[in-house]
């Protein structure tokens, strides 16, 4: 069980990293207009690939 002495601190750091990533995602507006991406397929104005 000695491995826990390593794993527990690492998991704390990981949790803090997750918080940091979420903060970035929120700031860059990833969570606004979540519906829009799904509707983009139906959008006639967007140019087709190729």
């Amino acid at each position: 069980m000695d491995i826990l002495y390593l794993l527990v601190p690492v998991s704390v750091l990981l949790a803090l990293a997750v918080l940091a990533v979420f903060a970035w995602a929120l700031k860059s507006g990833q969570f606004e207009e979540v519906e829009e991406e799904g509707e983009r397929i139906l959008d006639e104005e967007a140019s087709p690939p190729g």
Binding site: M1, L4, Y5, V8, P9, S11, V12, A15, L16, V18, L19, F22, A23, L26, F31, E32
Partner: protein, 727 residues
């Protein structure tokens, strides 16, 4: 526990009241700077009590004459000199203010939602991590976990609790600090006390396991209940923002078009965004100026209450600068635009919103005092429970105190009525109905009689032209061009016949008397009632050259409206100033048994009063300029679209677009709102009666307390959201 929304639940009809329309007069401003009335978008109002608290805070800022805050729209209206307005944000640390333009208030809402989402995520995520770290101790009291490993897990939990205390708990801590400073008990206080006490005690238990606080760690409960509380707030915020966005969408439409003169002659309707400096605009009687500009041709009479606070009409001479947002009270005027719509548009929007959306709870003092008493009681109870438990079983005393503080939810009471009102507002806005007074919903639920106006409400006018002698029909285009200057339904019907490029100047319109204008040669012409129910057009002082017979068709949706209202159990009456024979004919066509023609505006008002004195609660549906006093006399009033905006001021609700089917919807929605409010209040009372004893007895762990509180608020909001759906 009373709430402001409960005053007239199932009450007997009130004593008949005589209402005279009040023309607000403001006292002359003391001091040099004139106060201006400005509307602000506010972030940080998570309950109606916050709105009240903010209102009081604003009123206490030196220099502020008055302040009103509306919870539902997230809006504050402040009357203060310009430099005080500029400094308002600095004087209010707990809330964020932004100018009330659609763009900036949408941005403010976005920021508010983002901040809450961040806090919610931190609390939720950290609480789950902490729970995993604490899981070993859940089984057999963690007896098999070695002591040093236990300490490590506890330390890790402690580290992960800091983000929650720093970010997620901030609204509660800040709110509690504010309530301590102002001496008012707010519901953030028990939550903050519970959170801080738990954190401190658990930290002490971690670093000094043999000390007084025992060795029990509650970081998992702490972070979990904060997460649950924030989730409850999230639900409430989404509901509120959805309503505000719907309202913004609705209000963006009505004044979106301006009448611009074409260089070649004639008038076209253009979107406000398309206006540019130098355009010549026409503003009819009763319309709001969309942009700043220079007055052309003739003196004008304007209401500038949005800008100056003075509601007395102001007279301007040609060449003067007129400001966007003023209301044209006199002759139709011509304006050369000074700039694009932009800011001026915001001012006009703010003016409509300001009247519409700041709630005025009828008995704020009572609800407020009751809430404070309730909170004081909870704090006392927590102390008592803690004292008793520290004698019986000291290890559990903290847990019990925390549970009692967290579980009591005044927010369910606080949200019961506002959540329902907000939801209803949103539903009505979707159908094109704008409530000018949110508490009109209460009155509307009691309505048992509906008085309908005829012209423009149930009927749409149709004009047919008849030249009085050969050759006169050449003047048809000119007559229609003159008619286009007015917003009156009859004039609009004539204008629809096809206006030509005739230029009219010095056009005057008097309510009830018609239009008078000068043509290119300076000759005066009149378009007005010809005494036979139609309009006559001719030179002033001579007999008319053209007669316009005005035919009325019942609107297509009128019979359905009558049937729906009768099905709802309402008594209907038709009142009109038109000839009795036509009124009876229409009544027969629509299936109305009570109809009265030949009513002057005063006779209509008297009819409303008589009905009220007989014990009825009257809803008046009308539109014309002449109806304003009648609309004010009725218990509730609705002005139909196409209504001259002057009449719209006195009405409790406006039908901005859509058909007459909105009228029965309005009444149905009001009744449903009352039912939902009652359900919410009953739930809030039952919840507290059940949960508090459980917490005191020690049967409620803190996380369950947090869950209970959040679920209770979410339930209230969720119940209210039923009002948004179609019924």
């Amino acid at each position: 526990m009373k709430n402001a929304g409960m005053e007239s639940v199932g009450s007997a009809p009130a004593a008949p009241r005589v209402v005279t329309p009040i023309i607000p007069s403001r006292p002359a401003p003391s001091g040099d700077a004139p106060p201006e009335t400005r509307a602000w978008a506010v972030a940080g109002l998570h309950c109606a009590a916050c709105a009240e608290a903010l209102g009081q805070q604003l009123a206490a800022v030196p220099g502020v004459r008055s302040a009103r805050v509306g919870y539902a729209a997230g809006m504050a209206v402040v009357e203060a000199p310009a430099e005080v307005q500029a400094g308002l944000q600095a004087a209010l640390p707990g809330f964020r203010l932004a100018p009330l333009t659609p763009a900036s208030s949408a941005q403010l809402r976005r920021d508010e939602a983002r901040a809450l989402l961040w806090r919610l995520f931190v609390a939720g995520f950290c609480s789950m991590q902490i729970m995993m770290l604490a899981a070993p101790t859940y089984f057999a009291e963690g007896a098999e976990v070695p002591a040093d490993l236990r300490q490590l897990l506890g330390l890790a939990s402690w580290v992960l609790s800091w983000p929650v205390m720093l970010w997620s708990a901030q609204p509660f801590l800040a709110g509690a600090w504010r309530s301590l400073r102002t001496g008012r008990l707010g519901m953030d206080l028990p939550v903050a006390l519970g959170a801080v006490a738990t954190f401190v005690a658990s930290s002490l238990a971690l670093f000094d396991p043999s000390g007084r606080w025992g060795s029990e760690l509650y970081f998992d409960s702490l972070t979990m209940f904060i997460a649950f509380l924030l989730a409850g707030r999230w639900v409430e915020l989404k509901a509120r923002h959805a309503a505000a966005a719907e309202l913004a969408r609705l209000l963006a439409e009505p004044e979106a078009l301006a009448q611009r003169e074409r260089p070649a002659g004639g008038v076209e309707a253009v979107k406000l965004e398309a206006l540019a400096a130098g355009d010549v605009l026409r503003v009819a009687l009763g319309e709001t100026l969309p942009v700043d500009g220079e007055l052309l041709d003739a003196p004008a009479l304007l209401d500038e209450s949005l800008l100056s606070g003075e509601s007395r009409p102001v007279r301007h001479l040609p060449g003067a600068t007129l400001l966007a947002g003023s209301l044209n009270l006199g002759a139709p005027l011509r304006l050369r635009a000074r700039g694009a719509a932009g800011e001026g548009r915001a001012a006009a929007l703010a003016r409509q919103l300001q009247r519409a959306l700041t709630e005025r709870p009828q008995r704020p003092g009572l609800a407020d005092k009751a809430a404070q008493a309730f909170l004081a009681g909870v704090l006392l109870l927590a102390l008592l429970a803690g004292a008793v438990w520290s004698l019986i079983e000291p290890a559990r005393a903290l847990e019990v105190v925390c549970a009692v503080l967290i579980v009591s939810c005044p927010c369910a009471f606080a949200l019961a009525a506002p959540a329902a009102r907000v939801a209803s507002h949103r539903r009505l806005a979707r159908e094109g109905l704008l409530l000018q007074r949110l508490d009109a919903l209460e009155t509307l639920a009691d309505i048992d009689t509906v008085l309908l106006d005829k012209t423009g409400t149930l009927t749409a006018p149709r004009a047919s032209a008849q030249a009085q002698w050969p050759g006169a029909e050449a003047k048809l285009g000119a007559a229609a061009a003159l008619a286009a200057w007015s917003r009156h339904p009859m004039a609009q019907a004539v204008a629809r016949l096809g206006a030509d490029a005739t230029r009219w100047s010095a056009v005057e319109e008097r309510p009830g008397q018609g239009l008078r204008g000068l043509d290119a040669e300076g000759k005066a012409w009149r378009l007005g009632a010809d005494g036979a129910g139609g309009l006559g057009f001719g030179p002033e002082g001579e007999s008319p050259w053209m007669r316009f017979a005005l035919d009325e068709q019942a609107r297509d949706d009128a019979p359905a409206l009558v049937r729906a209202l009768q099905a709802a159990g309402l008594r209907l009456r038709l009142l009109s100033g038109d000839a009795p024979s036509r009124v009876q004919a229409l009544a027969a066509h629509l299936g109305l048994s009570e109809a009265q023609g030949g009513c002057s505006p005063e006779a209509k008002r008297a009819a409303v009063q008589a009905a009220q004195q007989a014990g009825a609660r009257v809803l008046m549906v009308g539109d014309g300029l002449n109806d304003a006093p009648v609309l004010a006399q009725a218990d509730a009033s609705l002005a139909v679209v196409g209504a001259a905006p002057l009449a719209a001021r006195a009405a409790d609700a406006l039908l901005l677009r859509g058909g007459l089917a909105a009228v029965p919807l309005l009444i149905r929605q009001a009744r449903r709102t009352r039912a939902v409010t009652r359900q919410n209040l009953i739930w809030a009372a039952a919840y507290n009666l059940l949960a508090l004893p459980l917490a005191v007895m020690g049967w409620l762990p803190p996380w369950a307390a947090g869950l209970g509180m959040a679920l209770s608020s979410a339930l209230v909001v969720g119940n209210a959201l039923r009002l948004v759906r179609e019924d």
